[in-house]
Subunit: 358 residues, 2 copies
Amino acid sequence: KRSYTITLLPGDGIGPEVISVAKDVLLLTGSIEGIKYEFQEKLLGGAALDATGVPLPEDTLSVAKQSDAVLLGAIGGYKWDKNEKHLKPETGLLQLRAGLEVFANLRPATVFPQLVDASTLRREIAEGVDLMVVRELTGGIYFGKPRGFGTNENGEETGYNTEIYAAHEIDRIARFAFEVARKRRGKLCSVDKANVLEASMFWRKRVLAFTQEYPDVELSHMYVDNAAMQLIRNPKQFDTIVTNNIFGDILSDEASMITGSIGMLPSASLGDSGPGLFEPIHGSAPDIAGQDKANPFATVLSAAMLLRYGLGEDKAAERIEKAVMETLNRGFRTADIYSSGTKLVGCKQLGEEILKSV
Amino acid sequence: KRSYTITLLPGDGIGPEVISVAKDVLLLTGSIEGIKYEFQEKLLGGAALDATGVPLPEDTLSVAKQSDAVLLGAIGGYKWDKNEKHLKPETGLLQLRAGLEVFANLRPATVFPQLVDASTLRREIAEGVDLMVVRELTGGIYFGKPRGFGTNENGEETGYNTEIYAAHEIDRIARFAFEVARKRRGKLCSVDKANVLEASMFWRKRVLAFTQEYPDVELSHMYVDNAAMQLIRNPKQFDTIVTNNIFGDILSDEASMITGSIGMLPSASLGDSGPGLFEPIHGSAPDIAGQDKANPFATVLSAAMLLRYGLGEDKAAERIEKAVMETLNRGFRTADIYSSGTKLVGCKQLGEEILKSV
Ligand SMILES: CC(C)[C@H](C(=O)O)[C@@H](O)C(=O)O
Ligand SMILES: CC(C)[C@H](C(=O)O)[C@@H](O)C(=O)O
């Protein structure tokens, strides 16, 4: 029997509710597929701040590092919004990403046929959208130094950050993205702002150097402002997108909203070795926390990504994905994706319906 | 008779075609409203590179500075795409913005009722969208130093830029945006990434300080990734958006695509004193350059913004805007906005139809 240790980081807001569903789904599929799990639940974000005074306790990071994969709910909330930088829940998440060295963030944006009318885009534009954003996750302006607050030559206060990429940081995310594109439809679009930024010019140059190694992948380049437009004009033109940390933050959220199903979308963050980090792309939704209204699908699908990309357990991953599709086909919906003619249920009941479909 | 000098910068691609139409429209409305113009046509971008070896000749900048307003067509094209930074058409545009000190870029995103079906968003989402992006234009990562290519402590090559804002840069764009919001529907949304970036934390703090001065304006804050989503989910929630240079680049293009009418959208870039810079938001479209296919509406509407914001000639501005609406109502369309039942015309003929409607 294969056996894995999984770190669970429920986090804040609706995090605990959706993680609880995903855990049950992992356990049931595991028992069918002959996989054993040992779960360790740890604190991150606001929950960690309240309990320990820091957003990423050492204990959380070291347990996470030693496990086979990490499943995260969501972090953040109004309560900690005004905290200083080092005491923000978000800082804990950034420290976790850096600590696990998960430089490649995979964010699929897929339109579920059952939910196409939830998109604000016209049906013929949204239908069939299936793209993957590969976002660089541990570099760029998120981590670049120098950063902070200062005084300029006129004695004026300033705030500043540094967008910086070293060769190996671009190379490893580029290679990762070429591999992803190769397994998808063979099209890779690298997004930058090389008409203005040196960091982007360097990015483009390094990405270009991979074309010989991947002659089967069709590489194109697009400026970030144009990409923001093209995602709306014709999202189906995209297969795989690779971009830096901040552009990836913006474009992957934009792409997810195009699908109309942001409560459905998982993500995976991977490094060269060590455990991957898997989380829904949605936030902690503090307004509905604890009300049994959260949509657990995205976290359940993140668990499927954990199985496929984190543990190489493709069969169990497929079993989960099929169960999600079947639950959708059986008409069960949480409030965020409800439409007339479907069955409105809470987070817990949806979890039970997914288990029935497993 | 009021008299103004206007610098015309046709630029590249379709630039000359659309500028020629806008010039005719200015002349005709001027003769009706008692306004005299002296036009000076100068080189910028690729056209300037080819003729003089630099993308912004000194002569262009000094003439522009001495004029009452500057009307720009578009710059750039495949031909110069691989040029080094200081020889890119885009660099000429950035130098012009900096040289004119036009720190406030106004980008309206308006859905024209006649063109609502050109939006890829569902009719009920797109209909009635009317928002204004106020983008900081002469600071941030576009101009921040240090920037360039270097070597890090491991001897590895790097590319880097600096996102930096000084107090007065934020204050002047914030005040500008509050004034704009006050004249619109009184709602201002400041977009940043204050959960991660110090430059954004400083931005938010300075913007917040204006609330006492503008108690009548309802201020909110939004993270840039969320803003990219909300623009698609429900663009009508926005009235005025204020943001930094790079986020404004991305979000204003996204917002314009939502309207489905990017060939219709003008922009104005203004400073504290000196001439404003007015230009369509679309690019130089090298693929259709010289083929009489370009849509001149956005440049004509930029001329209207020039009259209103640049010269304080509101009546002439309104006359142009009405002529545009009437031309649309009479069914004339260029290819980019054509739909069955309307009349397809070229750039020149559309110009003549606008003149008839003036
Ligand atoms: C919470 C925040 C720090 C984070 C980010 O910007 O990376 C989030 O927006 C995301 O995309 O995962
Ligand atoms: C051409 C380019 C330098 C420019 C910018 O990024 O500002 C353009 O995208 C714009 O938005 O006007």
